[in-house]
């Protein structure tokens, strides 16, 4: 039998299930990408409203976005807040996950539920409750208060992903290191941390995006001249519903994407996929 014939006989026969699976995936992809495409068209469209078909291509909305000090201040603040939230939630969420998975804490299930609870509460209530607490405590609405609020809702993401990694973690790997002479601290830094890192940082990426896109929690907690980008966009929309909103959304999407890519590069989220 010739090789060509052999290749033909080895070809996967048409499979309805597989075709349906592919179709499902393609439609999901379209479902995810079409809104982004619409936003892009709106952002590049010169008219202040969406017109189909687009009447031309212009960068005027991007110019307007980048020239506006309100937008730029908000963008920087959002990035700064999201960066802090990333660091804080990774530290807090990672530590909590370790304590919950490892420490022989009484009421572990309760504690886990407790740390996850910010996800159950409507975010707008979290924001409102913190707003009232801050005012009652007389601390006003400082930026660190906003960061803490975002951290509160971001920690569960880190906690979840880290717990998932720890759940599959073979404790004997750490024991092996200990027998080989590694003190508990060295075991943590040489073994535990590198192994849970993908989970922690996957959670960190979520945390960053949750904060960067956060609207409901921020709504009550931002102060005049200290508004995050989603809040500024929301209010902008009430008065000027034009392509600058779409331009801002495109910039946000690209920024979030590049943060994910940079983190991926630096930390290597995929590094341990094949364990």
């Amino acid at each position: 039998m010739s090789t060509a014939l052999k290749a033909m006989t080895n070809k996967r026969p048409f499979d309805a299930g597989r075709a349906a699976y592919l179709a499902l995936n393609l439609s999901l992809l379209a479902f995810l990408l079409v809104p982004i495409a619409v936003v892009l068209i709106f952002a590049l469209n010169p008219t202040p409203y969406i017109s189909f078909p687009p009447v031309g291509v212009s960068l005027r909305w991007f110019e307007k976005f980048f020239a506006s000090s309100d937008f730029m201040n908000a963008l920087w603040l959002s990035l700064w807040v999201a960066g802090c939230v990333l660091v804080l939630s990774v530290t807090i969420g990672g530590a909590c996950a370790l304590a919950l998975a490892r420490g022989n804490l009484p009421g572990r299930a309760f504690l886990t539920a407790f740390f996850m609870s910010p996800l159950m509460l409507p975010a707008i209530l979290t924001g409102l409750a913190l707003f009232q607490s801050y005012l009652l405590a007389g601390i006003g609405r400082p930026t660190w208060g906003l960061i803490l609020a975002h951290t509160l809702v971001a920690v569960p993401y880190v906690l979840r992903t880290t717990l998932a990694v720890l759940h599959n973690f073979d404790h004997r790997i750490e024991e092996a290191a200990a027998v080989l002479g590694a003190s508990p601290i060295r075991v943590f830094f040489e073994i535990t941390l590198p192994l849970i890192r993908p989970g922690v940082f996957a959670g960190g990426v979520f945390a960053f995006i949750v904060s960067f896109d956060q609207f409901p929690v921020s709504l009550f907690l931002v102060v005049p001249k200290g508004e995050t980008l989603p809040v500024v966009l929301f209010n902008y929309m009430k008065f000027d519903l034009d392509g600058a909103i779409a331009a801002a959304s495109m910039v946000s999407i690209l920024l979030a994407l590049s943060v994910v890519l940079v983190l991926e590069r630096l930390i290597g989220l995929k590094a341990y996929v094949k364990l």
Binding site: I173, E175, A176, A178, I191
Partner: protein
């Protein structure tokens, strides 16, 4: 390489205040000895080993290594080697880094590390795989890395918890030989946990047979096999016939039973089943007085095995039987 004695002194370990995992165990393991802990699942082998390693603190009793009481010494200061059943290799480190780990922890100078890692890998025939990650190795190769990683620091004591359990039969036998050979060459004291009596008999200098957290008998393989002290040991090691004789139990190994003409027979019976084992056949025989006896016949020459239903005559001498306690 140095080796050390290990001594467990009336060690007891209870979990959750209920499960007595190890119950008043005393063991004297000699320096350079291949010592096995053998027993059925849940009898406390792993727990005993983990107390030697320092992962578990005994409720009472002391642990000595090399004459020094190390009961309260933390794991990382005990200077031991350990091989886990699951190997427990560091998945994010290469083979070389895995092996180098213990040396790095001991602040061995870098050039020495390189040299010793190379030698250790050569010793387990893994030269050339230095840069692989554990995930890219076969089970047997991972096993050897685990062994090299444990031995490269030249520990006076090597602890192995069912290290060959995950390997297929062929590889397992090969590794049994290799491990035994390596242990003898290095002279390390090796404590070997297994529930496989054949493996224990084949490899050990001495065996401790454990049951329900207690040590039933300690002795050389032949001694354990030939002179089991208790009914449990007799039963656990190999095939055995327990004969009730004036209220006292006596053990008789199947291979001590001879097939003889009926006139000379101590008992007569018929073959119920015949298990062909290659070098020998194990028969289950129903005797005239409705008991069952196991008898093993080694094949010599062209003699073909007996078939089901064949009448046989069996004989043995009293000195071949062993009196059992309890």
């Amino acid at each position: 390489m140095t080796s050390a004695t290990i001594k467990l002194e009336q060690v007891t370990k209870t979990f959750d205040g209920r499960v007595v995992a190890v119950d008043d165990v005393t063991l004297d393991i000699r320096a350079g000895e291949f010592f096995s802990l053998l027993g059925p699942s849940g009898c406390g082998k792993t727990t005993s080993l983990r107390m030697i390693a320092g992962f578990e603190l005994p409720d009472s009793g002391r642990v000595h290594v090399g004459g020094r009481d190390i009961t309260d010494l933390p794991v990382h200061k005990r200077d031991m080697g350990m091989v886990f059943q699951s190997y427990a290799l560091f998945p994010h480190r290469t083979v070389a880094e895995n092996v180098a780990f213990g040396l790095r922890m001991r602040d061995v100078p870098k050039p020495d590390i390189v040299r010793r890692v190379k030698a250790a890998l050569a010793q387990v025939a893994l030269t050339g795989l230095e840069e692989r990650k554990p995930g890219q190795l076969s089970g047997g190769q991972q096993q050897r890395v685990a062994l090299a990683r444990a031995l490269v620091v030249e520990p006076p004591v090597l602890l192995c918890d069912e290290p060959l359990g995950a390997l297929d039969r062929k590889l397992r036998q090969q590794m049994q030989f290799e491990l035994k050979e390596l242990q003898k060459r290095l002279g390390v004291t090796l404590v070997f946990v297994t529930h496989d009596q054949e493996e224990a008999l084949a490899m050990s200098d001495r065996i401790a047979v454990m049951n329900k957290g207690r040590v039933e008998q300690v002795g050389a393989p032949t001694e354990i096999y030939e002179r089991p002290r208790t009914r449990f040991v007799a039963d656990f090691i190999g095939e055995i016939n327990i004969l009730e004789d004036e209220g006292r139990a006596r053990a008789l190994r199947p291979e001590k039973i001879r097939f003889v003409p009926e006139a000379e027979a101590r008992v007569g019976g018929t073959v119920e089943t015949a298990n062909f084992l290659g070098g020998s056949t194990l028969y289950r025989i129903r005797t005239a007085d409705q008991r069952t006896l196991l008898a093993r016949e080694t094949h010599a020459g062209e003699r073909s095995p007996r078939g089901t239903g064949d009448p046989v005559g069996l004989a043995w001498t009293d000195s071949d039987t062993v009196a059992l306690e309890g």
